[in-house]
Assembly symmetry: C2
Homo-oligomer: 338 residues x 2
DNA sequence: CTTGATTCGGATAGCGCTATCCTAGACAAG
DNA sequence: CTTGTCTAGGATAGCGCTATCCGAATCAAG
């Protein structure tokens, strides 16, 4: 039975039900389709809802059904365009499907991620998208115990029951290193910031490739825990040319570093690529405009966001995706800097 | 009376109350302080909550109190570092105060903003942060009728009852133009993309300043509705030097455009600042690393986020902020490109 | 015509909290 | 001692939905 209207101003499902001449629960089912309702009734309820301008209350739905439509998406940073592209793609899939992506920024800090997770999971989210596998044990357990469907982005694993979409960071690092070798470079430096697990995988790809070619020199590896930036890239290049004057290439771990390195080379009068080849990673905006245009690795972040969100949609609707782990292709973009 | 535990696995306020030996409502008040509770009881409830690992259910709170702890923050883009800085500052204020900022991206589209607003307002948010004043009439009414405290960011107005934090876009545009005049430039072009209201205000500042100096030439104004980017800046500079070869300065509306313009000037062999002075806007990352380092206007986006969030905190707690409209200072950052 | 399966609408009972009203006790003023 | 005014706890009643169980109606199979 519809209960007495308490006139809080808000239009409730009871109002719609009364208008359509059905019970509240039938109106609920007609609008959100939990169960089959006769076509004529559906139309009548729909019409009543439109007429009254009914907007369902997400809090009430979450409370009654123990599940909201929110989907936390945890990324390390917004200042790397990489993750902005990822988020845009996620939004384009989830929002039209009726879910609210909630952006959470972890600043590459597992403790901060755990705190965010604790907060977001209290909201009974419908699903969860997180970056990579590097997190606290407590965070891992929070995810597992919550029972919320979760898709891991950027990296892949074969661990059973883990749904992930990413690309091989190691192979991407190796591919660019091989390219530099193929251009005749032998003293290839590697400059990285941030030192998150994905950066370290790329470093490992670089290392193995040079070891195989017999060119590896650990003194050419510059791993710097600071935040990645154009200014840092400039500093790293200056440091490299002053301490290791015989290098003939620098592979920067992210395009902002590489852009800074390129600008520093200009300032120092170092010819690129004649004396030093420069390569970046991620193929960010502006790299094609540099002087000379910057060689880089184009990473499939938009596809990762897209496929990750689609996989999550399947999980949230109770389906089992065809594959648990989706590995996408990166692309070497060779321009004039190498 | 505490009701019978239904063992859904979740630890509820009833469990805490039972553990502490008080009623549910007293536990609620002890934890969230709606009313005064004896110090000893507060401690006992706190302890019980900690022991059981109690996490309040935001959906239930929202339903019962008709107000959640979510605060939608609507920004046009994430690909402009400006808004990322703003969001970081907002987060740093709101999150520790117990509120969840929810990032919404409007893509400079009033219709999209209205849709997001409709969605977010259904969640009974505690407050609202939006960018600028340019929105649909329906969106305006949604905000007004919701009764949710709202602070407007980036621009200011004297309209009564409107709380806003920003800086004078018009004066900022004028200040940089005056700087270029003071350097002896007379054929100063203005190149802008996106053409949102704030861009147009800056254009107006440029226009008025040149008119006052008797140097205004409408053919030097290049307003382009496309999205701002380094590549577009390069194109705009090329277009300017080919169609208006007598220009001696270009004022770009955003630093990404200016960076692109600077790179294009390099490619074309145009000396900066000797033949053409170049200036940007917003002082984004990397501008200080350009060749030559780029003159720009440093905009107080972090302060805007900070003060905007603080103002909202006051409004949400029922206080009236000292001033409805807060105008912050921008800063001319003159480097070698002008 | 019975039986069982299937369909589709409704009544009931909460989800986990807080708003609101109520009451018992303490204490100052009359 | 009465009265009024506080104070700090509790009981009650929902917030607006959906899960769950029920029952009437329909229909194919025996």
């Amino acid at each position: 039975m519809p209960r007495k209207s308490r006139s809080t101003g808000r239009i409730t499902l009871d109002d719609v039900a009364r208008e359509a001449g059905v019970s509240r629960i039938t109106a609920s089912r007609a609008l959100h389709g939990g169960r089959v309702v006769g076509a004529e009734l559906v139309a009548r309820v729909q019409q009543a809802a439109d007429k009254l301008g009914y907007v369902p209350d997400p809090a009430a739905r979450a409370l009654a059904s123990a599940r909201s439509t929110q989907v936390p998406v945890l990324v390390p940073l917004l200042s790397n365009a990489l993750f902005v592209d990822l988020l845009e793609a996620v939004h384009r899939v989830l929002f039209p499907a009726g879910f609210q992506p909630m952006i959470g920024v972890t600043h590459y800090d597992p403790a901060e991620e755990e705190l965010l997770l604790r907060n977001y999971l209290a909201h009974r989210p419908a699903g969860l998208l997180v970056t990579g596998f590097d997190r606290t044990e407590a965070a891992r357990q929070l995810i597992a115990q919550s029972g919320v469907p979760c898709v891991y982005l950027m990296e892949t694993t074969d661990a059973p029951g883990v749904h992930c979409v990413g690309f091989s960071q190691l192979e991407a690092g190796a591919a660019m290193t091989e390219h530099l070798l193929s251009r005749g470079r032998r003293r290839i430096a590697f400059a990285a910031a941030q030192l998150d697990p994905r950066t370290l995988l790329r470093a490992e790809g670089y290392r193995r490739t040079l070891q195989k070619a017999g060119c590896y020199d650990s003194r050419l590896e510059l791993l710097c825990p600071e935040r990645s930036s154009i200014a840092l890239g400039a500093r790293l290049l200056e440091e490299l040319v002053s301490t290791r004057p015989d290098i003939d290439a620098v592979f920067f771990n992210n395009d902002d570093l590489a852009q800074g390195g390129l600008l520093a080379a200009h300032r120092l009068g170092i010819k690129v690529p004649e004396r030093i080849a420069i390569a970046g990673f991620n193929d960010l905006a502006g790299s094609d405009q540099m002087l000379p245009p910057l060689s880089s690795v184009h990473t499939p972040r938009a596809e990762i966001g897209d496929q990750g969100a689609r996989t999550l949609l399947q999980l949230m609707s109770g389906q089992t995706p065809a594959q648990a782990s989706i590995e996408l292709a990166f692309q070497l973009v060779i321009r004039d800097s190498s």
